[in-house]
Symmetry: C2
Subunit: 313 residues, 2 copies
């Protein structure tokens, strides 16, 4: 049979060869020859062309090349087959590296110390300890739960917000709309790891930012978004930085990606911009997971990491 790799961007050949080496009986292709449509039983996608998957009559499942699936579900003609997201210790670990890195850089005043260093000034700043701060994590899926556990080990108090009520050891969990307000109001640093759905699109707007804690041990509140750019309104974040509502931000995702060179976020001194690299998928590791799932599914086994299409994640 045929595995179709459909990704935007330049990575398709890398994924094709990583998958081909693990599925030697299959044709792994990045484009279909005429008549090959009916031989595709699995598709591995990242921002696939709308309509592409609907033209595959034998399609059994679609694998997203990432933890998020908004880029898959945005196709209005998406066929009714299982959608599978990546759940991988490698991916989860990388995301937590990014979150802990950014939280600690804000806690330990990296920006201020880099400025002092540039001026060759030996001067210490008042320094709260981790245990004096509360980090609020929005989104308590695989990624949010792992980040919460690691931040707790470093001594931070941790709150969380999820769509539906949850229990999580040592984490003050809020849920629902009222829960969001409570979580924002008590968190010194807010970390966003939500999926992009019709409920969360544009969530980080002026009202959200205005609901963040005013005074924190660091001076003001900090926002870290490593979820999806569609969760935020870039202009509202910029305005909150300008007005002082927001003290600092670390953003890995943006409404438009690549972030246009003209965006003022690039140059705002209290906003750290990274190019959607928080948890870059490792083709070797993730291809092995996908190939295992395909092999198991063909043998009648169940897929893991299935997406709830009505919830959108």
């Amino acid at each position: 049979m045929t595995i179709l790799v459909a990704t935007s961007g330049a990575s398709a050949p890398t994924w094709r060869s990583a998958l081909a080496s693990r599925l030697p009986q299959d044709a792994v292709v990045t484009a279909l020859e005429p008549g090959q449509d009916a031989t595709v039983d699995y598709a591995v996608v990242w921002h696939q062309e709308p309509g592409l998957l609907n033209a595959l009559p034998e399609l059994k499942a679609v694998f997203s090349l990432g933890a998020g699936v908004d880029h898959v579900l945005s196709d209005p003609t998406l066929p009714d087959v299982p959608i599978v997201r990546i759940v991988s210790d490698d991916l989860t670990g990388r995301m937590s590296e990014y979150i802990v890195w950014r939280v600690l850089d804000h806690l330990r005043q990296g920006r201020a110390y880099r400025d002092l260093e540039a001026a060759a000034r030996w001067e210490d700043l008042p320094q709260p300890a981790a245990h004096a701060l509360r980090v609020g994590i929005l989104g308590l899926g695989e990624l949010g739960r792992d980040a919460a556990a690691k931040l707790r080990v470093l001594g931070f108090k941790v709150s969380g917000w999820s769509r539906t009520p949850r229990r999580l050891e040592g984490v003050e969990v809020h849920s629902g709309r009222d829960g969001l307000a409570a979580c924002l109001a008590q968190s010194d640093i807010v970390v966003v790891l939500l999926p992009l759905t019709h409920e969360t699109r544009g969530l980080i707007d002026a009202a959200f930012l205005g609901g963040m804690k005013r005074r924190t041990p660091l001076g003001g509140p900090v926002l870290i978004n490593a979820g999806r750019g569609g969760l935020q309104k870039d202009a509202d974040i910029l305005a909150a930085l300008e007005s002082g509502l927001l003290m600092e931000a670390s953003l890995d995702v943006f409404e438009e990606e690549p972030l246009p060179p003209t965006s003022p976020l690039w140059r705002h001194p209290r906003c750290f911009v990274t190019p959607h690299i928080a948890a870059a998928s490792d083709p070797d590791v993730l291809s092995a997971l996908i190939a295992d799932q395909i092999t198991r599914h063909r043998a009648g086994g169940a897929l893991t990491g299935l997406v709830d299409r009505s919830a959108g994640y």
Copy 2:
């Protein structure tokens, strides 16, 4: 009785009032009135004046305002009373914050991404995961063990080096001189948390740096020193950065502190300089620990955190 606070720097009044509020029956002073010498039973010190403590006939113990005691022991006339170092979860936690912050900033290529950000360039870099790197921790006291445990939680492989053999779960521990060479040769990032003793002074020299791993998943090896400046030769570190033996460094301590504004380390693009702030003591927290020890010791109890003067820490 009288508690003498003897610190270099401007912090003496802060420590005096923090201790006085917890020991209301005592005179807590930063300088002695004539004739007051014989009333001092405890001294709380940081780089005290040589000879000062030897002039106190009733002195029962000396408390160092930090985890290190080299600054106490450097007084050749130091009287034969117990020397106590700070062992505090607050201090230990702060040091681990610093170590994890610096390790993650090197792992996640903070310098390169800040350069890309300054140029408004959207470009991702090859990124190894934490589990592909080994961090070698020199010094496995309270601080080194805590940092090791927290780095392991983040996925790093961890090695360690201590003067005497040790067992530590999940950590490949080396000891002795040969052990140091083995530890350096296998570590992608080397973290120094050693005490400053006659055995460790000047340890981080050209030979040490030349013994570090050549090729690492990040390109070259990284050095993080948050122990004492006397452990290192600033000029040898600079030369290793220039020659490429050392890819990057984070230094919180220096041979001369404050680091002179003329030091090229301030401006070296691959060296991050902080002004000895890795684990700044919190006067409130540490004063409570010292006051508890004094109260307990006067009642006949034992002191904890005693220094082995022959080992030098």
